[in-house]
Subunit: 513 residues, 2 copies
């Protein structure tokens, strides 16, 4: 005698197991697998993906959903049980609505299109990539029509990454950000002077970089009984349930911030995943049904808010280096011989307009994102043609960053996202930045002495608040719901702009106001 | 328009993918996973096992088998195609014949029984383990009845590990071995004198042990583009198709043979797996259907013949140390300062009767195995009662090894196998030893100059012969078929006994004859 909910939960638990197995195979492929294993790993992943699809998009799921919906009627709409059923229904209906022909064509196009893009980027030859990008845009519009939307096709696509976001909200958000960020950037550029010494002229042995980074990760709360740190050329965090949350970073012998801040960034993601309530393990509230992978965080934006909060707001703060510089000096005595904590703070926070998004600093980063999202919006609503992308890209780079793009490899061809058809994922980075300060303000309000504890290198009060108010809920509440529950209002740029203004006015000794 | 064979092959290829995914999850659990991940890893493995079972024991498999059997009629019975279909049919029928109740009770008993055994071993308390061992024996007899046998219930169980082996053949094999080994052992014990120095008093830094072991593994042919070496407390080899074959070893700071010979042993297994014909990837001829895991080697015995050939016959030979001692000395200059290759040869080949199987030398090892198999045979045919096991164990230890067993922890309780119900797996170790020399003799006959190349440290002629005659065939031919194809006769103890006699008569300077 089992309840409808128990049967439903057991069925989804198996889906979660398969998706977690897929993630383990992907992690292994990226960090451990010998190169010869790539071909058969592809087969293994394809078979497991097929099995997961057959498991979820099935009549059995439909029957179980019908039964459990009847059973939970009248229960608290904010309870985990009701949310679990609701979200499963919502994504089940969307996935059922996607035409098989569309899914097949997307899957077939992706590797080809990515291959052409890689070649086009190498030769800075946008024209060869154009027909493939056009196909991706066409498929994305088809997908948006199949999913359905009220206002803008982008709304149907961004739903996968940030369910509470729309094109209209993004446009308003960007206007607010540009108004704050562009003048700040101009002032920084005008007042910039070179640093007195070059920290990156030293060598930082990699094993010691790893030791320092891992020590800092554990200091902010990363639990190594449920984690591990490996090397990957494109660092990432991945969780196979909250009990096994792994991170990766990459190392440069001279430029140690690459590994350190890579580690802290991925640790931010990992703290979110490790903080999910144990009761949500193997439930719909730790599955991304549309992305088809297991994850505890509720959206790209909220996830990114945590990686950036811990990497930038905590890790690139003056007080971080005030607290941990002595330890850094123990590990790197010669390299830090005539350096102060204040100098470290300034060295890891250099702002400069640059061409490449993934190397951008805190101030310019969002301008790179806005530019991309504005282009995506135009491609999807038809106001921008694929062939005009390079020129519009370059014009916007001039307008936002005051920088000339030498060629398309350093411009419109730099990111892989569009070649894979991933429209709608870029906003998460900027939404995350904005959310991070809104959450921090709410934590400050709720937690007397929070800044004192941060200044003392005690991160547990902040981690405790984040776990209680965000992490533990898994995917039960959307980003917008979490913002309203904690800060009392939806997404708002003010706390974030205030943070940027104060930090960089101080750091660059800019004139006030 | 696909053929019946293509449809059959595609179905089994997916089974292979699922089983390989399970193996990857197990490898990860044993070498990489943080401890917290154990619980959910259990769920993931259970779900994938269930899926693999549903995939194979299905009406679809039955339909595909019927169709493909009609299609291949009249083809060469030794061809890979025919063997693939035949074996799939054979194992499908066996697995269909196993009552679900039996399978369920075995699965439920295993973890409980293993837990009780571990506790019993700790306290040297055989009585507490007795009722669980009795249940395992009862289930094993039930399983033998369900599978079916002509002569002895053991025949139905050993089939999983060594399809061409039976109780009758094993008894004859053991008589031959005992007649040769026991007198040799007595002579060694009588002539033994302590070594002049203690090599294990030195420390051997683990990273240098790893480097030397891996260099030797590659020298005998391990392809690191399709392999990797990790650490595990119980070393093992595991393959996720021939393209990704991983090994593990364990390290002792002082006793370097543990890691070196562990590595060479697992490399022997790995060479077999890496040598399978690429066309057999994702086919029935690289799946152990009964054991439910992917493997290219045809049986436990043949697999063990390769690990032991490379570890013992090659790696513990005088000429191995003649060839590689200079390299060893480069890596461990102080530790080997006043040592000769001849001394190394003697030090890694010490023979002494001892209590524990896994620490036994080349001469005594098979006596440990025979003792166990004789007890299994008695348990299964009812001539030995579970309660009498400890006494019979101790009597046989005295008879074969002339050694007194102080308690059951060092006697009948030492191995995990019986607690998990794994009756039939022990013979593989001894069968492998015997096979290894029979194969080597055949290689010698076929390959002029083989011994010269081995003496020169060139292992490619031997590896080439083994790959051509054994490895590439995967599971297409049984151990017995491979022996007949290569040596012209079935399993024969003579080459192995001759090897032991010559090696240890020389090493211990025993009187001839």
């Amino acid at each position: 005698m089992t309840t409808a909910y128990e049967q439903f939960a057991a069925h989804i638990a198996e889906l979660s197991d398969i998706l977690n197995a897929i993630s383990i195979l992907k992690w292994d492929a990226r960090t451990q697998m010998p190169p010869g294993g790539a071909e058969t790993r592809g087969y293994q992943l394809a078979t497991l993906s097929k099995l997961s699809q057959e498991h979820f998009i099935s009549d059995k799921t439909a029957r179980l959903l019908d039964a459990v919906e009847a059973e939970i009627q009248g229960e608290d709409p904010d309870s985990y049980r009701v949310r679990a059923v609701q979200q499963t229904r919502q994504y089940y209906d969307i996935l059922r609505r996607l035409p098989l022909d569309l899914v097949g064509r997307k899957a077939a196009l992706e590797p080809v299109s990515e291959g052409v893009w890689a070649e086009a980027k190498k030769n800075s030859d946008f024209k060869s990539f154009m027909p493939y990008l056009q196909q991706q845009v066409d498929l994305a519009r088809w997908q948006a029509d199949a999913i359905g939307y009220e206002d803008h096709p982008f709304d149907a696509l961004v739903f996968e990454y940030e369910p509470s976001m729309t094109a209209a909200k993004l446009k308003a958000l960007f206007e607010g950000l540009k108004t704050g960020i562009i003048p700040l950037l101009r002032a920084i550029v005008a007042h910039d002077r070179p640093l007195e010494k070059n920290l990156w002229a030293h060598e930082y042995p990699l094993d010691r970089q790893r030791a320092f980074g891992l020590e800092m990760a554990q200091k902010i709360g990363y639990d190594m009984k449920r984690g591990r740190l490996d090397i990957a050329p494109h660092p990432f965090e991945i969780s196979f349930t909250r009990q096994d949350v792994r991170i990766t970073t990459r190392y440069s012998l001279h430029y140690f911030p690459m590994a350190l801040y890579g580690t802290l960034h991925e640790t931010g993601h990992a703290l979110y995943e490790q903080g999910v309530d144990p009761s949500l393990t193997r439930t719909p509230l730790t599955i991304d049904f549309l992305g088809k992978y297991p994850v505890g965080g509720t959206s790209y934006g909220v996830h990114e808010s945590q990686s950036r909060l811990w990497e930038n707001v905590v890790g690139r703060s003056r007080r971080f280096w005030d607290c941990h510089f002595d330890r850094f000096r123990e590990i790197f005595p010669e390299q830090s011989a005539d350096v102060t904590p204040e100098f470290m703070f300034r060295a890891v926070n250099r702002v400069a307009p640059s061409l490449i998004r993934v190397e951008a600093d805190e101030v310019t980063y969002n301008l790179h994102i806005m530019l991309r999202v504005e282009l995506e919006l135009g491609l999807l609503d038809g106001s921008i043609k694929v062939e005009d992308l390079p020129e519009i890209w370059n014009v916007k780079m001039k307008e936002y960053l005051d920088i000339a793009v030498p060629d398309d490899a350093h411009g419109v061809l730099q990111d892989i996202h569009w070649s894979g058809g991933g429209f709608g994922s870029f906003p998460g980075y900027t939404v995350g930045n904005v959310m991070s300060l809104q959450f921090l303000e709410a934590a400050r309000r709720d937690t007397p002495g929070l800044d004192d504890s941060l200044a003392g290198g005690d991160y547990m009060p902040l981690l405790g608040w984040l776990t209680e108010n965000i992490y533990r809920h898994g995917r039960a509440y959307s980003g917008e719901e979490l913002l309203v529950r904690t800060s009392g209002q939806p997404l708002s740029v003010e706390p974030y702009l205030k943070y940027l203004r104060e930090k960089f006015t101080d750091l660059y000794q800019l004139p006030e106001g």
